[in-house]
């Protein structure tokens, strides 16, 4: 395999990883701070993508659509929190799984009713279309570069907020000992709401920037939700830094695995066996990684300090 192909795969892996981080960041905070399993986090990614589609149709401008979608995703997240999630914080994980499962079913069907079951696409904005010449033989789409940059910028901003601001300090404290934070006079309900809204907005943002790359379809959030769970388990529940490292790791392993597993197997086994097993093994890699981490290092690579198991 040529070096330039490898480089493209790495960039694709990085781009997928950044996308995963945007989704996993909200998921890990909601999970870590509130102890809340939100299966509906994946549909917020889908909601973001559909919002982008709708606003592009409405306004004709991609950038305008991005901002409008972010605002709507935030409002939508807060609305869900107010209507449903707020009543589930004290409940068992099983109840949370069940209720959020119901929300997935509802929103997937709603997307199908409003936009039809067919896949939709939107074009990237003009100034981000085209591709860059990296080396003599290698070109890479500008839009994918832009998503990597945007994702990394958000990651940096989030890291700064969580590490150096008062609200970030409260979030970290809330993840460790919510009772103590509440006893010190912090409005923990409002803190939860902020974390939840921001998480929903980040997942929506991931959906928006993924919209021009992947197909928009009902149920698009289901599989990425599971991968996002893999990410937060590998990284350590409640840990933003862990989610970042794990997201990039999972993105790279998954992307490289899908292209290389068949080739790697055909070195040892015959071609037909490799063709048959390769794709399945590639899909399994991240789950094998998660299971290994859970057995060897149950709290993840970079566990948040003091989070109860």
């Amino acid at each position: 395999m040529s070096l330039s192909l490898f480089l493209i795969l790495c960039l694709n892996g990085l781009q997928y990883g950044v996308l995963l981080f945007l989704i996993a960041a909200g998921l890990t905070l909601v999970f870590g701070v509130m102890g809340f399993i939100n299966l509906a986090h994946g549909v917020q990614y889908m909601v973001g993508a559909y919002l982008a589609f709708a606003y592009v149709q409405l306004t004709g401008s991609f950038m305008l659509a991005v901002f409008l979608s972010l605002g709507t995703a935030l409002v939508f997240g807060l609305l869900l929190e107010y209507l449903v999630f707020r009543h589930l914080y004290g409940r068992s994980h099983l109840d949370q799984v069940l209720a959020t499962f119901g929300i997935i079913i509802f929103l997937n069907e709603l997307a199908k009713v409003l936009f039809g079951p067919a896949t939709l696409t939107i074009a990237p904005p003009d100034f981000l279309s085209g591709s860059i010449q990296l080396t003599e033989t290698l070109r890479y789409p500008v839009y994918r570069f832009a998503t990597i940059v945007a994702g990394l910028a958000v990651a940096l901003g989030l890291f700064f907020i969580v590490s150096y601001t008062r609200i970030g300090m409260l979030i970290r404290a809330g993840a460790t000992t919510p009772e103590m934070v509440s006893a010190l006079g912090v409005n923990i309900q409002r803190l939860f709401m902020i974390v939840f809204g921001v998480g929903a907005m980040l997942a929506g943002f991931a959906g928006v920037i993924a919209a021009p790359i992947f197909a928009i379809e009902p149920g698009m959030g289901d599989n990425i939700l599971i991968v996002a769970f893999v990410v937060i388990i590998i990284g350590g529940i409640g840990s933003i830094g862990g989610a970042f490292v794990a997201a990039l790791l999972v993105g790279l392993i998954d992307t490289l695995g899908r292209s290389l597993a068949t080739t790697a197997l055909s070195v040892v086994f015959d071609a037909s066996f490799a063709n048959q097993v390769g794709p399945a093994l590639a899909s399994m890699l991240i789950y094998i990684l998660m299971a290994t981490i859970l057995v060897v290092r149950p709290k993840g690579l970079l566990p948040a300090k003091g989070v109860a198991p």
Binding site: L88, A99, G102, E109, I233, Y287, A291, V295, P298, P309
Partner: protein
């Protein structure tokens, strides 16, 4: 409480026993297929309730064992194994073996981490099934010949299959109930409520949990085997994580660790799907919010709603 739920069990099984006789009279024989579907769902759900309700082990990979059972039967059939008892032995051995390996690893974790690791194993099994190109791969496999009982087609369709499934449901229901009332079941619940204490009292709780996990997996495998007989089709979708989610929905809706919960939950889901689906095509728009409302307002599940005691206090 026990008396009322026992009466309910009696009514349920009497209705199921009478259904093949009564339903053709009102000309609704397609309902029998629907009931078989609900009973198969109930069998898998009862086994999951042993894990979740009694063991406190929330598995999000249980449907994988249904898939393994179905595929073991399908692969056996494709290779000329016809006797359902041989296929049953193969299914039990295969699901037991996979459950032993995954169980030993998964039980090193607990709580949310157990949920995630069972999800991981479930996904691995799902992708393994999609890679079986000789048996349909992603698209699944339609079976042209089904299992027989020593050459007799009594276990293939119609009322013969109906009573086989009903019998399996009854044996499963009774078996899990007996297990839950036994010393084994009490240790399992003790380990659920207070693992440290159960351990200090000298019970090897991981071994107890592993045995429960094996039993649950093997029962789920049997429901997969019977599913093949009913649907004449297997596909990896049987083992998808959404199916595991559906099983959790059935168990929790019915009522965790209750005598009839899993059966009630399974029939509720199948009926709701059928009735809402007949009213509007987009029935999921109603079903989704219905689930949310059930969680918010009916905490003890269906079996609690049907337990008409007014004196029932706040559940622990």
């Amino acid at each position: 409480m026990t008396d009322r739920s026992l009466i309910l069990s009696g009514v349920l099984f009497a209705l199921l026993l009478a259904a093949p006789v009564l339903l053709p009279l009102i000309g609704e024989s397609y309902l029998l297929g629907l009931i078989i579907k609900a009973m198969l769902l109930a069998i898998a759900a009862i086994s999951l309730d042993l894990l979740i309700g009694h063991g406190g082990m929330v598995s999000l990979g249980h449907a994988a064992f249904v898939g393994i059972g179905a595929y073991t039967a399908a692969i056996g059939l494709e290779n000329g194994v016809e006797n359902i008892l041989v296929l049953l032995a193969m299914t039990l051995a295969m699901t037991g073996l996979v459950a032993l390996v995954t169980g030993i690893l998964a039980l090193r974790t607990s709580g949310v981490y157990f949920l995630m690791i069972t999800l991981a194993f479930g996904q691995m099994i799902y992708f393994t099934l999609t890679s079986l190109a000789a048996y349909g791969g992603d698209d699944g496999l339609t079976l042209w010949s089904l299992a027989t009982l020593f050459g007799s087609d009594v276990v293939q369709s119609g009322s013969g299959l109906y009573f086989v499934v009903l019998g399996t449901l009854f044996v499963t229901w009774l078996g899990i109930y007996r297990i839950s009332r036994s010393r084994f079941g009490r240790v399992l619940r003790a380990a659920r409520d207070n693992p440290e204490r159960a351990e200090v009292m000298g019970y090897p709780i991981t071994r107890y949990r592993l045995i429960a996990y094996l039993i649950a997996a093997m029962i789920a495998g049997v429901s997969g085997l019977l599913l093949v007989q009913h649907a004449e089709f297997v596909s990896p979708a049987l083992a998808a994580w959404q199916r595991s989610g559906d099983l959790i929905v059935v168990v929790v809706l019915g009522g965790l660790g209750t005598r009839n919960g899993a059966i009630l939950g399974a029939f509720f889901i199948v009926i709701v799907e059928e009735v809402l689906g007949a009213i509007i095509h987009e029935w999921r728009l109603i079903y989704g919010p219905l689930l949310v409302l059930m969680v918010l307002f009916a905490k003890g599940g269906l079996s609690d709603l049907l337990d008409f005691k007014s004196s029932r206090g706040t559940a622990p």
